[in-house]
């Protein structure tokens, strides 16, 4: 329960901190950290406008999207705080929960019949497909490392005692940061601030959504960031720490993560569209190196 609350609280501030960091670096006047929340509240007050060409799928999609991601949050533990739901192999379920939401958004975008949205959906689908192996290989190798197959047990048994753990930890954090960026369509893959439909990925998909639907989609973005932040924090937080230390560390890591995203977005240029696939496949390559490292540690590969 605590983990769910922590993730929800941190998600409220996440995007605000990113925006604030970017504004600070660009020497602009900063909006309040809670500005995204105010925006969403305002959107909730509005009614939605639907195109005449759309069907029920389009109206359903944001709800399914939100529901699936919210369900995914329930599987995330933090430190020694248990997740609400947990069973063996739940990380596969977790990945496909995110997948269902994304799938709904993609077909909703196709449903509008707009060429631009179809293009955006196409790209989004490609990038999610490419990033999937990275996620599975990484979580799979951590599962092999700890000999557990649910998120909760897996992170509970993650021990910090070998030298090689640091490689796994650092590489996993690195890969998770960038998976989060790809999943949320942020900087190296997609620029959320761009105003040219030709170069958009995620933003162009939700061009037709408005009011209540748009608010849900924004909330999902916060949640996703927060989920990945929580996953990253699990690599660092040891469950032997006292509970208040764990909570403090969790917020510290979420803050650091959002600052990192803000700094990355401020300084990095967006990749060329054709470079994106190779850049995403690189994440899988690094996860494979992590996998090989785990094989060495667990002595599946015996070296001398």
């Amino acid at each position: 329960m605590i983990s769910l609350l922590l993730i929800l609280i941190s998600s409220l501030f996440f995007v605000g901190i990113i925006v604030k960091t970017k504004a600070k670096i660009a020497a602009r006047k900063m909006p309040s950290v809670l500005q995204p929340v105010y925006d969403v509240v305002r959107l909730f007050k509005k009614g939605a406008v639907y195109s005449q060409t759309t069907s029920a799928i389009f109206k359903m999609a944001p709800l399914v999207y939100f529901a699936s991601v919210f369900l995914a949050v329930l599987f995330i533990p933090i430190g020694s705080q248990k997740a609400l739901l947990s069973f063996d192999g739940d990380f596969v379920f977790f990945a496909y929960l995110l997948g269902i939401g994304k799938f709904m958004m993609i077909i909703a975008a196709m449903d509008t019949g707009s060429g631009f949205e179809g293009m955006g959906a196409n790209r989004e689908a490609l990038y999610s497909m490419l990033v999937e192996p990275a996620f599975f290989i990484l979580v799979g190798s951590v599962a092999l490392f700890t000999n557990n197959v649910s998120f909760q047990d897996l992170f509970l048994h993650l021990k910090l005692d070998t030298n090689l753990y640091y490689i796994i930890g650092i590489a996993s954090i690195y890969v998770f940061v960038y998976i989060a960026m790809v999943e949320n369509s942020r900087m190296p893959v997609d620029d959320p601030k761009t105003h040219l439909e030709l170069t958009m990925v995620h933003e162009v998909m939700i061009l037709d959504n408005s009011g209540f639907d748009l608010a849900l989609i924004h909330i999902v973005t916060w949640l996703k960031f927060s989920i990945y932040g929580a996953l990253i924090s699990n690599f660092i937080i040891s469950n032997s720490w006292a509970i208040y230390w764990q909570i403090a560390a969790f917020f510290g890591i979420q803050l650091a993560f959002s600052l990192t995203v803000g700094i990355l977005e401020a300084f990095k240029a967006r990749n060329k569209m054709e470079k994106n696939p190779q850049w995403i496949i690189m994440l899988s390559a690094i996860s494979i190196v992590v996998f090989l490292t785990v094989l060495i540690i667990t002595e599946k590969i015996i070296l001398n």
Binding site: N163, W279, I301
Partner: protein, 209 residues
């Protein structure tokens, strides 16, 4: 600790496949030199002190400082900024490097002989395969030298894997040879860059009948 540097070395190979800028190649070669230094520093305690110091200086001075510095000079001389002339998309290169890594890790598991230190063999073999691949896919002579140096780093690791069989004098001579080779190759890149006004391999094809 040795494993840390071995894994980092493997990651540099992936970045070699990913990057397309010449500057990055030189930087990565420098990094590889440091990785080799780390590997040697944490694994070769048992050998004689003179040999130990010699190998350390070799890796830190030659492999991570002198050679990259020299290559950087050559790069600036020829105004090489970016190389797009790979004949294979980077996407496939990454897959190739990953496959070669997996293959060589499992191969060294299969070898498991007490005469070879298979932990060095893993990246050594991958490095050699990837170096040859790197030479094949690039169409610029500067990148060819970079590929040659990747192979050389692989052979260095392989010689660690085999153990110190060779006498130090011969080792020294081999090192000097490689160094001389790189210097001479670099000088010739400069000459080719001056004479042909570019370092692309396509121009070097007039010797045919």
């Amino acid at each position: 600790m040795t494993y840390l540097f071995i894994i980092l070395y493997a990651i540099t190979l992936i970045y070699f496949a990913l990057s397309e800028r010449v500057k990055k190649f030189v930087w990565l070669l420098c990094m590889q030199g440091f990785m080799l230094f780390g590997i040697v520093f944490f694994s070769l305690h048992k050998i004689e002190i003179f040999d130990f110091i010699f190998i350390l200086t070799e890796t830190i001075l030659v492999k991570s400082l002198i050679v990259p510095w020299f290559l950087n000079k050559v790069r600036k001389h020829n105004q090489l900024k970016r190389i797009q002339e790979t004949s294979v998309p980077v996407f496939f290169s990454i897959i190739v490097v990953v496959l070669s890594l997996i293959f060589s890790f499992f191969l060294s598991n299969f070898l498991n002989s007490n005469q070879i230190h298979t932990k060095y063999f893993t990246v050594a073999f991958a490095s050699i395969i990837f170096g040859i691949y790197f030479i094949i896919i690039h169409k610029n002579i500067f990148s060819h030298v970079v590929g040659y140096l990747i192979i050389e780093n692989g052979t260095f690791l392989l010689s660690l894997a085999v153990g110190s069989v060779m006498p130090m004098m011969v080792n020294l001579a081999i090192l000097l040879d490689v160094l001389m080779g790189v210097l001479v190759l670099g000088v010739f890149i400069n000459r080719i860059g001056d004479a042909f006004e570019s370092t692309k391999i396509d121009q070097l094809s007039s010797l045919k009948d």
